[in-house]
Symmetry: C2
Subunit: 204 residues, 2 copies
């Protein structure tokens, strides 16, 4: 399984990409668009290379397999989402529910961050490789850091149930678009959901 | 749009299918399996007909378009899930959260009902036609009936946020399978989630 091979070589970060070659950035940009539009299954390294105007070999050279390109493209796309633990870490624990909920709506209400998030969810639901990437990024990097802030034995389950409330809202509001939830004012939803997230994380 | 054409003719119910021709049942069974395995996009009326051992024309005769076959197959598959409003209607309102949560785990923990539910979610996330079917069945038949039981002005949003909590758990536990949520004892989750569902439906 390629999932077990090291991927750090090709994984970009904001500081890295600043001095990385232009071709590498073009590949990542093309990958993000291809995965968003077609989903994981229908996207090919060849298609990404073509969209970026480079040879497939260069894509392999920078990133390795299709899974590794996907993970690299997604890591950048969810970089704003990975700021969520900060929203938990900074500020008092008794208002963490509202900060996390507002953060969630911030990234989903903004088209630039919503598009790659849609691609991730769509890919992860239908493809086990994409699901594994989702688990590594969301679970390992995001949820575990949030859980680390909570000083309770079942912190990880609590963080996951809070995440489930928010993921379910993403599903019904942004993906399947069930009304009235899909067209409700975010503030109306936040008022109801922030206390639920808070209770999951710090309640009895 | 085919979504606007009447579909009642082909929509099966438990009483109808009892006296319907065997071919009709075979088509529905084949459709359920094809949609579950391949998802909406990759399933064709031809493939369903072949799996059922009938001519494509017969599939069209009984059900109409691919969307209508999908809706008919799904309606049967989610028939157990449509029992949920009963779980709300029967029994006191102050324990509706626990009844609904237990009902949800009942259908997701049973492989026979989990498989078609997975097919519905996977199809609805990636295909607008399947999403429209999901909206008609889940939103119109299930959520609105639950909301009808609640005597508050924002009953529909409340029912949808309760559903979002459960849908998010389905995503993280059964579809993307993030641990520890994926392997936790259902009773441990129910103990945390039932009060949340209750609060969404009848809380302040």
């Amino acid at each position: 399984m390629t999932a077990a091979t090291p991927r750090r070589r090709g994984r970009p970060s904001r500081t890295e990409s600043a001095d990385a070659p232009a071709a590498r950035d073009r590949i990542l940009e093309a990958a993000r668009e291809e995965f968003s539009e077609r989903g994981y299954d229908k996207t090919s390294v060849r298609g990404i290379a073509k969209a970026a105007g480079v040879d497939s070999a260069l894509v392999h050279h920078y990133f390795g397999t299709k899974e590794q390109v996907f993970e690299a493209a997604i890591s950048i796309a969810v970089a704003p989402a990975l700021g969520a633990p900060k929203a938990v870490e900074e500020g008092p624990l008794d208002s963490v529910g509202e900060r996390l909920t507002r953060f969630f709506f911030g990234i989903w209400e903004t088209p630039a961050t919503r598009t790659p998030l849609l691609a991730i969810v769509r890919s992860a639901v239908n493809n086990e490789t994409a699901a594994a990437v989702f688990r590594r990024i969301i679970a390992a990097q995001l949820l575990r850091r949030i859980a680390g802030r909570l000083d309770v034995p079942d912190a990880e389950i609590r963080a996951e149930l809070a995440a489930a409330q928010l993921v379910g809202i993403a599903m019904l509001r942004y993906i399947i678009r069930i009304d009235p939830l899909a067209s409700a004012d975010p503030e109306q939803i936040i008022a109801r959901v922030a206390p639920v997230v808070q209770a999951h994380l710090t309640g009895p």
